[in-house]
C-alpha cells in the first residue's frame, strides 16, 4: 500500500492552501451623528490649532503613550478635502479622520490601521465644547496643555467602535529642523503593505499627505514611445499590476498599450510623470519630489519636465523642490551630459565626492551607513542637505531622528517618521 500513499500526498502538497493577507478597509460612513445634516465643516483656524502632541490615557495599550496629531488637505478645483491624522508610537499605528462640528462639539470620523499587521477598524472621536471645542471653534484659539481632550471609541474591522480612547493635548508639534522632509517611498507607500491604493499612482500621491508625508519619491521609466511614467520594477508583474496578459519589460510597450491593457493592483492606470506632477503641484501641499531615475538613457527629458513643474509651482506660489535622483553610476554619467548640470537640482545616492562633483542639492546615503554625523555636518557646511534612505525599521527611524542630523528621511512608513519627528524634543 505504500506506493498508493504517495498519490494523495502528491496532490495535497501541490494544491495546499496559502494564507492570503488582506486589509479590508472598514466602512466609515455609518456614524449617524457625523452624517447629521446639521453637522458643519470645521473653522479654518480650528484645524492647525488642534495639531500637537497628545498623551493617551485610554487606548494606550493598543496605540502607545503618545500621538502626534496633524492635519493635511488635498484640492481638486475649488473643492478641498481635509483629513486629520494621528500618528502613534506603537506598531506604526495611525488614524485618519475627517472632521465636522455639531452643536458646539467637534466630531472626528475615520479609521485606524497598524502597518505591522492587517489590523484596522473604525474610530469615532469627539471634542466636547467643555473639552476644547469651544476654544478651537472660537476666535484666535490659544492652546495650552490639557486644554484639548479628545474622547472616543475605536473598533476592529467593521464592528461598531466600542473600545475607549482618550487623548490630551500636551505640547506643540516639533518643527526642528523646520525644513525636515518626510519623504514617502514609491509615491506614498508600497502596494505590498496592503494600502488601499497602489504604489506609484496618482491616488497614492493624493493619499500620502494623510500618512504624514511632506514629499514623495517616484520611480520614473520610459515607455517604448518615450512617455515618462511611474513604475518601479523593470518588468510587468503581479506585484504591481493586475493580470492582463502583458509580460516583459515595460519599455516594450507604448503608453497607449499600457493605458488600454494594464491596471495597477488597485485598478488605477499607470500614471505619466506629467499626471503625477500635476497632482503634486495642483492638488497637494507636498514640498518635495524625488524623481528616482529607473532607466539609464538620457536625463534631458526628465530635466525639461523638472524645470517646467518648478516654474508651474512657483507661478501659483507653491514652495516645491523637484530633484533628479541618481541611484547609480549609469544615471550619474547621463547626468554629466546635461548642460550646466551643476545648477540642476539633483539628489545623489553615490558618495559625498560624487555629490560634490555635480553640486548635488542633496546627498542621500543609505541607512546602513548609520548617522554619519561628521560627514553630514561637513555636507551642511557646503550648503548641501542630507536625506537618508530607505528607513523602515521603527527603531532605526527613532534613532536617526533622535541622534542624527539628517534633513530628510525616505521611508515606506512615513507615518512612523512623522510620529518620531513631531514628538521629538
Amino acid at each position: 500500500m505504500k506506493k498508493y500513499f504517495i498519490i494523495p500526498v502528491f496532490f495535497c502538497l501541490f494544491f495546499s492552501c496559502q494564507k492570503k493577507y488582506e486589509v479590508v478597509m472598514p466602512d466609515t460612513a455609518t456614524w449617524s451623528m457625523f452624517n447629521d445634516p446639521a453637522a458643519l465643516p470645521l473653522t479654518p483656524a480650528s484645524r492647525p490649532a488642534m495639531e500637537g502632541v497628545y498623551t493617551l490615557s485610554k487606548g494606550n495599550d493598543i496605540f502607545g503613550d503618545q500621538a502626534a496629531i496633524k492635519w493635511s488637505h488635498t484640492s481638486k478645483g475649488s473643492d478641498t478635502t481635509y483629513h486629520v491624522s494621528g500618528f502613534f508610537g506603537k506598531d506604526i499605528a495611525y488614524f485618519i479622520c475627517e472632521g465636522k462640528q455639531l452643536n458646539g462639539s467637534i466630531l472626528l470620523n475615520g479609521y485606524w490601521r497598524k502597518m505591522v499587521s492587517t489590523e484596522t477598524g473604525i474610530v469615532h472621536l469627539t471634542i466636547s465644547a467643555a473639552n476644547g471645542a469651544a476654544l478651537l471653534l472660537g476666535p484666535g484659539p490659544v492652546i495650552t496643555p490639557g486644554s484639548i481632550v479628545i474622547d472616543g471609541f475605536f473598533g476592529t474591522g467593521s464592528e461598531n467602535p466600542g473600545t475607549p480612547i482618550t487623548l490630551s493635548y500636551i505640547r506643540k508639534l516639533n518643527n526642528s529642523p523646520a525644513s525636515f522632509q518626510i519623504a514617502a517611498h514609491r509615491s506614498g507607500g508600497r502596494t505590498s503593505d496592503l494600502l488601499p491604493v497602489s504604489e506609484n499612482s496618482v491616488a497614492m500621491i493624493l493619499k500620502t499627505p494623510e500618512f504624514g508625508s511632506t514629499g514623495v519619491e517616484v520611480d520614473v521609466r520610459f515607455t517604448k514611445d518615450g512617455v515618462p511614467i511611474l513604475y518601479h520594477d523593470n518588468t510587468l508583474n503581479l506585484r504591481e499590476v493586475q493580470k492582463s496578459g502583458l509580460v516583459g519589460p515595460i519599455e516594450d510597450y507604448t503608453y497607449d498599450q499600457l493605458s488600454t491593457f494594464v491596471r495597477l493592483v488597485h485598478g488605477e492606470k499607470i500614471p505619466t510623470l506629467r499626471e503625477a506632477l500635476d497632482a503634486v503641484v495642483y492638488q497637494t501641499q507636498l514640498q518635495f519630489v524625488w524623481l528616482d531615475t529607473k532607466y539609464t538613457s538620457s536625463i534631458a527629458p526628465i530635466h525639461a519636465m523638472q524645470l517646467e513643474y518648478i516654474q508651474k509651482a512657483a507661478a501659483i506660489g507653491r514652495k516645491l523642490d523637484i530633484v533628479i535622483g541618481l541611484p547609480g553610476k549609469d544615471q550619474f554619467n547621463q547626468f554629466l551630459n546635461l548642460a550646466d548640470y551643476k545648477n540642476v537640482p539633483s539628489l545623489c545616492e553615490l558618495g559625498a565626492n560624487e555629490s560634490d562633483q555635480i553640486n548635488a542639492k542633496i546627498w542621500a546615503p543609505r541607512f546602513t551607513e548609520g548617522t554619519q554625523n561628521e560627514l553630514v555636518a561637513d555636507e551642511h557646511t557646503k550648503g548641501r542637505k542630507v536625506y537618508v534612505w530607505t528607513v523602515d525599521e521603527p527603531a532605526f527611524i527613532t534613532s536617526f531622528i533622535n541622534d542624527g542630523h539628517f534633513d530628510g528621511m525616505l521611508s515606506n512608513f512615513p507615518s512612523c517618521v512623522a510620529y518620531n519627528y513631531y514628538v521629538h524634543q
Binding site: K2, K3, Y4, F5, I6, I7, V9, F10, F11, L13, F14, S16, Q18, K224, T235, L236, N237, L238, Q242, K243, S244, G245, L246, V247, G248, P249, D252, Y253, T254, D256, Q257, T260, F261, R263
Partner: protein, 205 residues
C-alpha cells in the same frame, strides 16, 4: 512568499518520491522481467484549458477571454535501474487570448508559454506514471494594438501529470496524460489533456 512556499512543497514532494522509490523497489511489477536502462522520448499534443483568473476589464475587452488552446509537449526521460526517472520537458501552449476594441481601435493579445522544466517521474501502478517538474516558463505576450509587440518573461513554475502508457512494442508506446501546468510567479495555470507517443530510442542493461 507565494514562490518560496510552492518551491518548498515541491522539494518535499520530490524527497518523498525518492524515499518512496527506495522503499518500494521490489513491490512493482513491470511489463518485462528485464530491467532496462533507457532513454525515452515522449512527443504529443492535445488541448489545454487555462484555469486561473484574468483581470482584463472593459473597455479593453470586447469579447470573452479564450481559454482553450492546442498544447504540445516534448519530454526526454532517463529511465535508470531504479524507479525514479528524470529528464527535461518543453513544449508550447497558449494560456489565453482575447480581442480588444477601445476608442475605435481594435487589437488582440495572446499569452503563450514554453515550459522549461526538470521533471521527475515514477511508475505508481502498472503502466500508470506520475510526473512532477520544477523550472521556468518562458511566457510571451503577442500583442497587436497600436503596433505589434512581442515581449518575453521567464517565470518560475512547476507541473504535475498523471499518465497511462500502453505499449505497442518494446520501443514504442502510446500515452494518455493529464497535466497541470503552473507558472506560479505569474499565477498562470492550465490543465492539459494530451495523447503522446513514447519512443524508447536507446536502451541497455
Amino acid at each position: 512568499m507565494y514562490t518560496s512556499k510552492k518551491t518548498y512543497l515541491l522539494l518535499v514532494l520530490l524527497a518523498l518520491l525518492a524515499v518512496n522509490s527506495l522503499l518500494a523497489q521490489s513491490n512493482v511489477k513491470i511489463d518485462s522481467n528485464k530491467v532496462w536502462k533507457s532513454f525515452v522520448l515522449q512527443v504529443g499534443g492535445g488541448i489545454g484549458s487555462y484555469t486561473t483568473v484574468v483581470h482584463i476589464k472593459p473597455p479593453a475587452l470586447s469579447g470573452s477571454v479564450k481559454r482553450y488552446s492546442p498544447v504540445g509537449t516534448l519530454r526526454l526521460l532517463w529511465y535508470p535501474s531504479y524507479r525514479l526517472r528524470m529528464g527535461f520537458e518543453t513544449g508550447y501552449t497558449d494560456f489565453y487570448s482575447y480581442k480588444v476594441k477601445n476608442a475605435g481601435k481594435e487589437g488582440s493579445l495572446h499569452l503563450s508559454a514554453v515550459p522549461l522544466l526538470f521533471v521527475f517521474s515514477m511508475q505508481v501502478v502498472r503502466r500508470v506514471n506520475i510526473y512532477a517538474g520544477l523550472g521556468a516558463y518562458m511566457e510571451t505576450t503577442h500583442l497587436v494594438y497600436d503596433g505589434s509587440v512581442t515581449s518575453k518573461a521567464f517565470v518560475l513554475g512547476t507541473n504535475i501529470a498523471l499518465s497511462y502508457t500502453y505499449p505497442f512494442s518494446s520501443k514504442l508506446s502510446i500515452v494518455a496524460e493529464a497535466e497541470w501546468m503552473n507558472a506560479y510567479d505569474s499565477k498562470d495555470a492550465a490543465l492539459n489533456l494530451q495523447a503522446k507517443l513514447a519512443w524508447r530510442f536507446l536502451r541497455w542493461q
